[in-house]
Amino acid sequence: MTSQCLDPLRPAPVNWARTLWDGTRKGLLATGKLMLVIVPVYTGMAILKYVGILQVIAGWCRPAMRLFGLPGDAALALVLGNFLNLYSAIGVMASLKLTHAQMTILSVILLFSHSQILESSVFFRIKTKYGILWAIRLVTALIVGYALHFVIR
């Protein structure tokens, strides 16, 4: 396959059916490989959400919100965003009364660190150091959120 593609003197004629099929096959294969980890992880997350344990964790995080200049209720957005996904965090954010500066700070923290379980499972699937990556994201999110609190008001 590669030999005919890499020959610089004689370009192979484009076989459209073959090209489309190759792309489709690779796309399907990649989706399948990822679904192997995503389905169980997604199932676990749905259970976490239903059981209500995330609300309890959010309760523990409330006092820390002062570090970022955020109201205590923002803890629920951060916890849901980190364990589940951005959409569930946004559901909470929409119900909070936040200034533009607070909204920006909360958004930055969430954009650095969100969907940690699902995205770590992708890192696990591609066989890279998911633990380190998880830590880098969380620490960066907290540091940048804390720093921004002094920069924008």
């Binding site: 370009p11 990822l34 239903y50 954010m93 958004s107």
Partner: protein
């Protein structure tokens, strides 16, 4: 929430995620194949490498980087999964791509959501980009795997 509503939310959420993955990944790989056939790929990856090379990326890393920055980690990871058979991405490259994407990904959808809620565009994009570049650069410079060094 009743268990019925929870189950329905679970099923529809999983289905829409799977469907989105399937569509976007098939689209990415079909476009890739077409681009490859017309030999545009090597040239564009070389161009991209001029920008990303100083962080330690090789030319093959350009693809998952682009997919991840534009569409998100799941899709960058999908491209890595799909191109494993082509053997162009060694573990170190996969790690570097992952670090960059961990800090800076899904620039369109994720950022768009936050802008709609009233966040400042500058503060939610520029710090992520700068930190993604800086951390990848630092890790590439300071972290050498114990077994063997990266050739080239």
């Amino acid at each position: 929430m009743t268990i019925r509503a929870a189950l329905r939310e679970y099923a529809s959420g999983l289905f829409s995620l799977a469907w989105k993955m399937l569509l976007i990944l098939v689209l990415i790989f079909v476009v890739l194949e077409v681009v490859k056939r017309f030999r545009l790929l090597e040239r564009s990856l070389k161009g991209l490498h001029k920008v990303t090379g100083f962080m330690g990326f090789n030319e093959a890393a350009g693809l998952p980087l682009l997919a991840g920055v534009v569409f998100g980690i799941v899709f960058g990871g999908g491209v890595i999964c799909g191109s494993v058979e082509e053997q162009k991405l060694e573990p170190r490259q996969v790690f570097l791509v992952s670090i960059f994407l961990a800090l800076c990904h899904g620039i369109i959808e994720d950022t768009g959501l936050m802008i709609v809620l009233g966040a400042n565009v500058f503060w939610i994009t520029v710090p992520r980009l700068i930190l993604g570049v800086a951390v990848t650069w630092l890790v590439n410079r300071w972290y050498q795997p114990p077994a063997r060094a990266d050739p080239g």
